[in-house]
Amino acid sequence: MTVPFLAGLPLTFTLDRLSGLVLVTVLVVSALVLLASIAEIEQRRRSFYALMALFVAGAVLTVTAGSLLPLLLGWELMGAMSYALIALHGHGSRAPGSGMTAFLTTRAADLGLYAAAGALYAGTGTLDLAALPSLTGWPLHLATVGLIAAALGKAAQLPFSFWLRRAMDGPSSVSALLHSAAMVAMGGYLLLRVEPLLVASGWGSDVVAWVGVSTAVLLGLIAVVQTDLKLLLAASTASQLGFVVLAAGVGSVDGGTVHLVAHAFVKSTLFLAAGAWLTVLGTRDLAELRGAARRTPVLGTLFVVAGLALAGLPPLSLWTTKDAVLVAAEQRSLALYLVGTLAAVLAAAYAARAVAIVLRPTAEQGVRMPLLAWAPLVPLAVVAAVGGLLALPPLADRLLPGTVESPSTIGLAIAGVMALLVAAVVFPRAEQLGRATGLVGNVLRDWLHLEQAVHAVVVHPSLRLSEALAVFDDRVVDGVVRASAPVTQGLARLSRRLDERGVDGLVTAVVVGTQRLAVLARRPQTGQLHTYLAQSAVVLVLAVVLLLVVR
């Protein structure tokens, strides 16, 4: 389907297996999350639902996009709505800043999408995604870099992961939708979509695969030591999407897709549950959530089911979908497979830890949950539980014939057992993990200091530069000398030097010079007649000389 938009560049939409499955997921999860959010959101509902609706529109645009133009439209719309939802409806005074961090980080990556669009157009004269693999030369590489950057940013992969942490300042229903099922997942989705390009570029696949698997491991580690439930879930999201990205890198498009879909259901269940606890219990700190599942049995059950699925315990969904990805990875490279397996182990660890803590016995009273807070979670949890069937031959052959690598029974069994073992090890020691100290523990708990690093390397210098430029500009304008902070003195000195010798100096020199000339020009007009006569005589002589000399 095409809609005319720009000259020769219409909006193109396609619906294929991949986008169809994801679209259904997005719509179902959205509907349920919106339903559940009624319990959470009490203020400014109008703007909340308007923004959510716009967001869903963006997600649908992204999923159904057949060319880069609608993709970009939806893509940026999602980013902006994520800012608005976090900043406007988030908790605490940090929320606006968090929304900004989220949007700016993803937008920085999104610039790649613009570049990719330009490169695609330069190479082929169209913006159709299908044309991507036919690129050659610099447009091919520019497009690959751009798309990978954009996707990694959205999917909160390394090194962009930190924004997802700040995004947790937003409402839980927003996290449930944006930061699990829809927006973050779109990063993975994009890579799956352009997998042929990754292959065509020659290097894209490897880069993507390794970034994905590294994220899966590192963010897994981070998740293990988090003390905040939502942060744990956020890190696990990035980690799980690492598998999707890995899938794109190793060419297992459908494996990645089913993992994406299953994860969406799992994670939205978990986020919604966390949000519900936050609403009724007033906390998201893991230590304070001790025994929360026991106080809210229905919700607790749903959380535990989804949590165990996240851990990869058989027979729940992620057990099989993850394995589909790992099988493909193993076919590509053993190293990838081993690291991926490590990530799977970590997944079992952090998920088990969360589940263990909420299942601890507690003396606190039970709490009554409103219907809307848990009812929408039921279908989500159900899919989370049985979604793994998608990756198993009976269903996979029907839905995605011949593309999902059939997981070997042994592999599945090993993975299941391993997950069970890890869970069993972690279960009693859940609290200790959160107290992990030392350098490693601190670095992990602070998400590898990524945000500080970005601040130090990118944000801070940019702000200083912008201030220095502003001072420079002001000096040029007004000549106002502003005191410069010690840090900016170097730049300020530079700008001052530029300034004095540059534009302003020139202007001043001209003005002063003109004034001097003006005074000089009036000097001959002495008022004394005889000087008038003498001067005119001199000028006449000079005129004669001019005529005689210049011929």
Partner: protein, 101 residues
């Protein structure tokens, strides 16, 4: 006696007049300097007529014009002098220098 000599004479008269016009403070003396310059012009014009274009009246007419100009300038000069003397009791150009700059 030749054109060159006449012109040399004219140059001398003109230059002396110029010197006077530039140095004299008194309006009347300044005017005399101008007269002397014109004196040179008259003799130069006469010589030009005689030596180069005596067949045409242009030179004679020019001499007449110079004489007329001289007379007229003098008449006006006296009038201006009278005017400024009556209004400012001044006969020196240096004393009338209020307007300047």
């Amino acid at each position: 006696m030749s054109l060159q000599l006449f012109l040399l004479l004219a140059s001398a008269l003109f230059s002396i007049g110029l010197y006077g016009a530039l140095t004299q403070q008194s309006v009347v003396m300044l005017m005399m300097g101008l007269e002397l310059m014109l004196n040179g012009v008259i003799i130069a014009a006469s010589a030009f007529w005689f030596y180069t274009s005596a067949q045409a009246p242009d030179g004679q007419v020019l001499v007449l014009v110079v004489i007329a100009a001289m007379t007229i300038e003098m008449a006006v000069g006296f009038a201006v002098q009278t005017l400024i003397y009556r209004s400012q009791q001044v006969d020196m150009t240096d004393m009338a220098s209020e307007l300047s700059g």
